[in-house]
């Protein structure tokens, strides 16, 4: 029995939009029956296209919004049943990092007050002790203590996300949920923030839940991954299993869409004709993910993916497949997963380099090795 820190049981969330005098209200089923268990100390990733409900799910997990039905249990306590006072107190243990570091910091508060507020609130710190703790937190996330007196607008995007992380760490959380924590940042800064999060996780024993659409980041960070499509989890597996042996047709399509940054590799973006490029060749019929994601206001009956799935049958159009355990640790929601041809794991195999390219890489490695030793000599006293 593994140690479960957070568990969601059959979470639903519907949003009602419109509904004026002349317009009928439409109900959007953003999250439809999600159950998952997050183990203490792991990094759990939730991936999916825009609009698949992954941000809504993240907010539900920390009760930043109320579920329409279902429950969330933190350390065995039902969050959805907690009175507001207890919930506020418990927020010290579970913190959120938002996507946009530009809008999620109060423009009229100094960094000192932004980071200090949870310390004051949850730990009752004040005065010099508070200042010292804020300085410690800023140093921890790679900022300088004297940054405390500045306002958020005086920082760059990466620095602001560091402030957000310092703020989230202030109350000493055990669980950190990041809603696309790096996708608003420059690529070079993304790596820094990802590394920072990993270091913090290791040092402080955090449990991380990361929402993302960048599969490279996920593969790098996560221990387990859940793939969402139209408000439902279609596949959940350990990261390596998911990336090397994806079972759900949607997961396969997602993985196939990753551009490979290698000479002779796949170009990014769909190929001419509006179809996603296919380099694997193992599943010619199943390789294509055409069409748009259906409207969550009117999801298709049966399996929600059947409108875009190459393997769909009459059964898929009528009966929703349950999320079932197919091997230990892997759950898939597909009627036909067992009958599918083996996954085109070539999707993730880096094509062999040509001899010429290999020679150029060797030259580059040698050159960078040389320059590193030179710098070392120069900096030596």
């Amino acid at each position: 029995m593994t140690d479960i820190i957070l568990e969601a049981r059959d979470l639903h969330r519907r949003f009602v939009t419109g509904g004026g005098l002349l317009q009928r209200a439409t109900t959007i089923h953003a999250v439809g029956g999600v159950s998952l268990r997050i183990r203490r100390g792991e990094t759990f990733a939730i991936v999916g296209e825009s609009g698949c409900g992954k941000s809504t799910l993240a907010r539900l997990l920390l009760r930043l919004i109320e579920p329409s039905s279902g429950s969330v249990h933190y350390d065995g306590r039902d969050l959805t049943a907690l009175p507001p006072r207890d919930m506020r107190a418990l927020r010290a243990q579970m913190q959120f990092i938002f996507q946009d570091p530009f809008s999620s910091l109060n423009p009229r508060m100094t960094v000192d007050r932004i980071v200090g507020e949870p310390l004051r609130l949850h730990l009752g710190l004040s005065g010099a002790a508070l200042r010292a703790r804020v300085a410690g937190l800023l140093t921890r996330v790679g900022l300088r203590p004297e940054h405390a007196d500045r306002y958020p607008h005086e920082f760059s995007g990466g620095q602001r996300q560091r402030i957000c992380i310092a703020r989230a760490l202030a109350s000493g959380p055990k669980l950190l949920v990041g809603d696309e924590p790096v996708s608003a940042l420059d690529v070079s800064v993304q790596a820094q923030i990802v590394n920072l999060l990993e270091d913090l996780k290791a040092d402080l024993g955090l449990t991380l839940v990361v929402i993302a659409h960048d599969l490279a980041v996920i593969r790098h960070m996560a221990d387990r991954v859940a793939v969402m499509y139209l408000g439902e989890i279609v596949e959940m597996a350990a990261t390596e299993d998911l990336f090397t042996a994806p079972r759900h047709p949607y997961t396969r399509a997602l993985l196939r869409a990753i551009p490979i940054p290698a000479p002779g590799g796949r170009m990014s973006g769909p190929a001419p004709g509006g179809r996603m490029a296919d380099a694997g060749g193992a599943e010619p019929a199943g390789a294509v993910l055409g069409g748009d994601i259906p409207s969550p206001a009117a999801p298709p009956p049966g399996c929600r993916f059947h409108t875009r799935c190459a393997h769909a049958t009459a059964l898929c159009a009528t009966t929703p497949p349950p999320l079932a355990e197919v091997t230990p640790g892997t759950q898939v929601a597909c009627h036909h997963w067992a009958a599918l041809p083996p996954a085109a794991d070539a999707a993730l195999r880096v094509p062999a380099r040509s001899p010429a390219a290999e020679a150029r890489f060797a030259l580059y490695r040698a050159a960078s090795e040389r320059s590193r030793t030179t710098t070392h000599r120069e900096t030596a006293p």
């Binding site: 920390l62 930043l64 919930m87 506020r88 107190a89 418990l90 927020r91 010290a92 913190q95 959120f96 938002f98 946009d100 809008s103 999620s104 910091l105 109060n106 423009p107 009229r108 508060m109 507020e117 949870p118 609130l121 949850h122 306002y151 607008h153 005086e154 957000c164 703020r167 109350s171």
Partner: protein, 315 residues
């Protein structure tokens, strides 16, 4: 901060000059000859010419303007053609009255409008929001003079609680002064409260949607702290600017309200002056009002910069 204020004041100077030209020219363009008013029944051309020369009305326009401007800068706004009092003295007499009325009306507006705006934003879509909006709409659409007359009928005539009209300087009898002013201030204040309420509501609705308010909730703060400390402090910025501008408008006097409550303020002064073709007074009052309005604009800018750290950096 100081360079920012100084620069704002420097920018205000050309505006003031433009206002002075406009004020001066406007009264030259008005129909009617002040000399004829002065002379009364007298129509002897020699007398008229004498009067014209005495008031230097025969000089070229530009000379007249420069003379006038020079006097204004020395604090001399001329003599009232009718009462023979210095205009400066007239204004000094009326300004405290209007100022007191404006301050009290503004207090009413802020005390009623801002909490109502916050409440209706926080409780958006509930019956509280609808009632607040109905009150605001009524405040905007009920004419001041009508509300004033009804209040006099109810509070003064029927209930006998407050005096129906009149004015008492604050320094001589504060209680009596407040008693006479409270009704007109309330009448003026309700309309402004409605404006403030609508603006507070929309500003707060925007801020309450913002990401940093969500962050504040995620920190585990009480909803009251989230609304007042995180949301309101950001949402109040445009309200501060609006309040300063509304106050500037109040200083121009409220003609109808002052008339109904027989308050000897700016509004009454300017109406009387216009009807009597008392040009010096009209000029003085309009100039004074314009200066007050520009000063309030300046104040709004400075307050905005003081409250908004982002402005401080760019200034």
């Amino acid at each position: 901060m100081l360079p920012f204020i100084l620069r704002r004041i420097l920018i205000a100077i050309p505006t003031l000059l433009l206002v002075s030209v406009f004020v001066f020219m406007l009264q030259k363009l008005l129909p009617g000859d002040p000399v004829l008013v002065l002379a009364g029944e007298e129509r002897d051309p020699e007398v008229l010419a004498y009067l014209r020369a005495q008031y230097r009305l025969d000089d070229p326009l530009i000379v007249q303007y420069l003379n006038w401007l020079g006097n204004v800068l020395r604090g001399d706004l001329g003599m009232s053609l009718r009462t023979r009092q210095p205009v400066t003295a007239l204004i000094a007499e009326k300004l405290p009255v209007t100022f007191q009325l404006a301050v009290m009306a503004m207090l009413f507006a802020i005390v009623i409008g801002i909490p109502m705006g916050i409440l209706s934003a926080v409780k958006k879509g509930t019956w509280l929001d609808y009632i607040a909006n109905i009150i605001a709409l009524s405040g905007l659409s009920i004419p001041n003079f009508w509300l004033g007359i009804l209040l006099i009928l109810l509070v003064s005539v029927n209930l006998g609680w407050l005096p129906a009209s009149g004015y008492e300087p604050f320094w001589s009898d504060p209680v009596r002064s407040l008693q006479t002013m409270i009704m007109p201030a309330f009448v003026l204040g309700t309309a402004l409260a409605a404006t403030l309420m609508r603006h507070t509501r929309s500003s707060m609705l925007g801020v309450l949607q913002s990401d940093y308010v969500r962050t504040a909730r995620a920190k585990g703060l009480r909803e009251r702290v989230v609304v007042m400390k995180h949301a309101f402090r950001n949402g109040v910025l445009p309200i501060v600017t609006l309040s300063a501008l509304l106050f500037g408008e109040l200083l121009a006097g409220a003609v109808l309200t002052e008339q109904i409550f027989s308050i000897p303020g700016f509004g009454k002064l300017i109406v009387d002056a216009v009807f009597n073709r008392d040009y010096a007074v009209v000029q003085g009052v309009v100039l004074c009002t314009a200066v007050a309005f520009i000063a309030m604009n300046l104040l709004a800018d400075v307050l905005y910069a003081l409250l908004n750290p982002r402005m401080r950096m760019t200034s």
